[in-house]
Symmetry: C2
Subunit: 195 residues, 2 copies
DNA sequence: GTCTATATAGAGATAGAC
DNA sequence: GTCTATCTCTATATAGAC
């Protein structure tokens, strides 16, 4: 990270993202941010008055970055099944980061939902819904181009797919690691494949 | 809860289970236990020297109770698909408890895995593995009695099913609630059904 | 924008009386 | 088995100097 183009505020968010993905919101503190960034706790508070503010900024940035990752997937001319596989890879990649101990930011926060301010809860829900919509679109494409096959309602299936991704990350992070994660996602793709 | 047959230790565990399922391990304190049970913090420490001890007892009891719930399912003479549906119901029931805000005890702890002592981590893993084995057995039965149909490895599919259950609970607790949870589980049953 | 210093509250845990 | 009292540490957050 270049400190010229990457101000203190951004560096705090980098560290904050890492900490929340590993330890959860109740498992990290401003002192942890302070230690990792190399400035004092009071200086962290200068950038983010409260933990809620920090999490709000974290979620905001996370969702922006996430949007930049999924838009090109939708726009590509691959079959829907291939798009889905690419999308699944984003979740597998999370667990493959050093330590093999990172969860989905929003999955971690969803577990600690009752510790969050209403503002942050809405942001997490927004992320979830964005994902359902994205998956639903791919599922519809997949039925059209015949690269995917399944019975029943597309919206309900989209929720199931997203739930499975979040669950696979939660479970594999605890037991099995990236290998297990990939095998699980492969099984899910199998269930949605024709024939 | 009858206080004659239900000693203080058990009452602490009742409250502890409730608190961890709602708030997570880092979101609850011995003070919370003390308040809810109606004794002082020091008295809670008399029964459980540390938080790790309390969580160990919690997981021990949880797994025992869980075993008593799933054994009769396996022993019944229903088709495998019906057994699976009954098992799924255990997860749906969790979210239907008052408040609609309880998660799976082990799912919550899995999210906060890096805050746990190694002893507790192993207990959570043990619960997960017990579930994979249980599901795998039902999936094998389902292939035999033709009430279930799917391609690929049974062990990997069992992991996927369990991951989906944990994920469905995590996601529906945050967005959608019990109705959404049930619809999601229904979609999963659909994917595993023949025809 | 970062610092020192501090306020205030809560955490986990222990000693020892009853 | 429960209590009061206390220890020690850490948490979030703020005031005010540089």
């Amino acid at each position: 990270m270049n400190r010229r183009t990457h101000g203190t505020r951004e560096r705090i968010l980098d560290v904050g993202l890492d900490l929340v993905q590993r330890r959860g919101i109740n498992g990290m503190s401003f002192q942890d941010l302070s230690d990792a960034v190399g400035i004092r706790k009071a200086s962290v508070h200068h950038h983010f008055a409260s933990k809620t503010d920090m999490v709000a900024a974290l979620l905001d940035r996370y969702r922006t970055h996430f949007g930049r990752e999924i838009r090109p997937i939708l726009g590509s001319r691959k079959p829907a099944a291939a798009k889905l596989k690419t999308y699944f890879g984003l979740f597998a990649d999370t667990l493959e980061q050093p330590g093999n101990d990172k969860g989905c930011l929003c999955g971690m926060l969803a577990a600690e939902l009752l510790s969050l301010e209403a503002e942050n809860v809405e942001q997490v829900r927004g992320f979830f819904r964005e994902n359902y919509r994205f998956i639903e679109q791919i599922l519809n494409e997949g039925r059209s181009d015949a690269s995917l096959a399944f019975a029943g309602d597309t919206a309900a299936m989209a929720r199931l797919v997203f739930s499975s991704l979040e669950g696979a990350l939660l479970v594999a992070r605890c037991d099995g690691g990236p290998r297990s994660m990939k095998a699980t996602l492969q099984s899910l793709l199998g269930l949605l494949s024709p024939g």
